[in-house]
Subunit: 477 residues, 2 copies
């Protein structure tokens, strides 16, 4: 039986100006985690959230994470954990979000002041953090307020975990989640994260998979210091020549990884899975628009989506130590470090991929027969994540989307990684759902970041509706 | 008949403290041409030279070159031109040097203040510009003073051309030289430049050849903006993959250029030339010491010297537009620019090399079959230079070296380029000689630049002796 949500929805609409005002206050706090000078603003933003939550009747704690690694003069911003409701007859949903933002300055090319929420006549609300991730975080708070104002019982116990370092590697969070999984988060029946985006602009989606990422460095060195190519060109073996040779063996123009054994690690495509791609709301024009060109690898959307979601990819990012400025410099770099990463998918284990990469790179370098020295290593690695979209957590979210937006959501995966997703799954052992609020045009991390007013307000309805459907779902897993 | 030089040499020795004092004053003026804020110091240095020359009885002019291109708020420093002696029965020698210096700061790692000449107990005189090129420039002034003090007639008419922008591309100088070749410099019978170094530390040399340099950019672009490899990896053709592929086709690990047709442009090695390399004071240990490694291409000194001097080389310098910082960034660069240069030798003409390079790069890119776009162009090109070491200009210098240092000089070429050399040759039509004062360990352009007191004082004797031998040489060409 569909829950009765009309009164909740109406209250959300009635409070929409107040909700936008709450977002305006949050955007006005430049909580940039990557800039040391802004650390007090990040902490201020955490306290703002705590204060709003307390006013709404939640139990709130600011959990300190200690000093920032490698920057011992800086305190990490606190994790804001909160509980709203403590009824053992209700399900308990753990939600995650982050209250820090990417750097932004008007001088980067913003059309409006990045820390002043500016709403245009099409309802686009511009401001740093509007969609990533202050809008979604406030969505949970707003859902509480609308329930209270409407006089409707909140359908679940809500556990909240909002961090302030997401845009700087979520320093300290993994250990915190593992530590609290059996403590503060012990009642959680499922997890919901609203920190990603629709695939396009019209159709909502639920996201059940992410690729992992293994990031590598290939160091090749020879001379004791950088050399002048006039003096030494033609007399010494050059590390840059060797590096370009090795990097050229990794991948071909169509993104096909040339490292032996990688293909065998990839889970085969089943007919069932193959059938899913046809219905996804995505076109090649969507790809070309976001690329800004027509330089796609595949002519069809199905293979393109598979290339993004379910097959590995390898990108060459650049070379450290070589000449990278505009103009001309006749240097022979003494030590160059090639950077590349592999996006991983089921069933590629981190260590197995590392072994294949190391062997390939060492063999490729040995084949050159150079006197220079090689070192290859993995800078960091994060595993892929795939959840079961048949879990009640997804079923409930799917019904909520249909109720609010009038369409069944696409079931999507993403090519990038949100490492905290896997951490929550592994630490709690519960199903994790990614339930996005914003759309593909929101420009998170870019200039002119925005959240459409419609996505914000309907998104608040969606988060509340999701919790009502969660409360009704039978226990299946 | 060897000229009588004893009295001149003794006077140089007697004045050595005064000559070091003159160098101290010059080093104390931080005439860094690359730093806008230092432009007044560069101009001050030019005026210091002019004033010293005037005091010595030379006719001096400060020639303005106008505003600096692309930096119109800055005046270029003047060219100091001077004439000492105007006797039509004497030969006239045109000498060139520069009074500007490379940037330097104690914070770069200098052991002493870079603009305070500091002489250690081994007679090493540390200071920016000591060897490059204030020491040699003052050498000419000192030779005049010592002749005056010794009461000896100066053996030639000396024309001087000292510029203040050498370390910043000699802005404006080429046009000036071409303009004055038939005016201020019209009497010149030969040209002498003291702005390079001995091949080692013990044996003087005369330099009769330089390689040229063609510097190229390969631009490959596709997407409209940089992409996130999580979102786009595996769906778009990446410019970086294509660029690494093309760059890998240019040269092999032993520096052998892979561009078809280049070999055919190189003048064949004759038996006569081949025989010259055996006697050069150079060992593989010299190479390994300067490399800071044993990653040389060839096991023998002869082929190594040929690799540096008489064969072309190709170095990959780096990539602009890709990720080049330390750490990890998962970017797919939208536009990358590979930089490489070819050191050219006789008989490689600039245009012929360009044509071969363009064809090779275009063919290599076409072979990939990528949808990205290619653009290849030559950023700048300077031709190689080879003079006849049998000209009286070289014969005189060789005798002077033997007189001062007691050994026949090595006849060397250099792998790098000193573009003004070719300009003087082409503009005046006269023989140009490179007559170095400093040694290979002087660290020009590096921290702790120095000039050995012995090289300075004996160098002053050498410059004077050279002019005396010039005066005695029969007219042969």
């Amino acid at each position: 039986m569909a829950p009765q949500l009309d009164s909740y929805f109406k209250t959300v609409d009635d409070l929409s100006d107040a909700f936008i005002e709450r977002l305006r206050k949050a955007v006005a706090i430049p909580s940039i985690s990557a800039e040391d000078d802004r650390r007090p603003d990040v902490i201020r933003m955490g306290k703002f959230l705590a204060s709003e939550l307390t006013a709404l009747g939640a139990e709130v704690e600011l959990r300190e994470l200690g000093k920032q690694p490698h920057k011992e003069h800086l305190d990490l911003p606190p994790v804001v954990v909160a509980r709203y409701g403590n009824d053992s007859k209700k399900r308990t949903i753990l939600v995650y979000g982050h209250y820090d933002v990417q750097p932004a300055g008007i001088e980067d090319g913003w059309a409006t002041e990045p820390f002043t929420l500016t709403v245009d006549d099409k309802g686009r609300m511009y401001g740093r953090g509007s969609t990533d991730d202050k809008g979604p975080v406030l969505g949970w708070l707003n859902s509480i307020e609308a329930h209270k104002k409407a006089g409707i019982d909140y359908p679940v116990n809500l556990l909240m975990c909002f961090e302030g370092m997401e845009e700087y590697g979520s320093e300290g969070l993994d250990d915190f989640i593992k530590e609290e999984a059996k403590k503060y988060f012990k009642d959680a029946d499922a997890v919901c994260i609203s920190d990603n985006y629709w695939l396009g602009t019209e159709k909502p989606c639920l996201t059940y998979g992410l690729r992992g990422c293994n990031y590598y460095s290939i160091e090749i060195s020879g001379p004791g210091q950088d050399l002048h190519s006039g003096v030494f060109g033609g007399t010494a073996q050059e590390p840059m020549t060797d590096l370009v040779n090795v990097m050229n063996t990794l991948v071909n123009k169509d993104g096909k990884i040339q490292i032996k054994g990688i293909d065998e690690l990839v889970a085969p495509l089943t007919d069932d899975e193959k059938a899913l791609y046809g219905d996804i709301a995505f076109t090649m024009d969507n790809l070309y628009e976001s690329l800004g060109s027509t330089t796609g690898i595949y002519p069809d959307k199905e293979r393109t989506l598979m290339g993004r979601w379910r097959y590995p990819s390898l990108s060459l990012h650049g070379i450290e130590g070589a000449y990278s400025a505009p103009g001309a410099k006749t240097v022979i770099p003494a030590k160059v470090i090639g950077k590349f990463s592999i996006r991983t998918v089921p069933d590629m284990e981190i260590d197995a991929v590392n072994e294949l990469v190391y062997k390939h790179v060492k063999d490729a370098f040995a084949a050159i027969g150079s006197k220079n020295k090689l070192n290859v290593f993995c800078q960091h690695a994060g595993k892929w994540w795939v959840a079961s979209p048949k879990h009640w957590n997804f079923t409930a979210a799917g019904k909520a989307v249909e109720h609010v937006w009038g369409v069944k959501p696409d079931l999507t995966r993403e090519g990038g990684s949100i490492p905290v997703t896997l951490t929550f799954e592994q630490a709690t052992g519960k199903n994790v759902l990614l339930l996005p609020m914003g759309s593909s045009t929101d420009a998170a991390h870019s200039i002119n970041e925005k959240l459409d007013k419609k996505n914000y307000i309907e998104g608040i309805k969606l988060l509340g509706a999701y919790l009502h459907y969660v409360a009704e779902e039978p226990i299946t897993s």
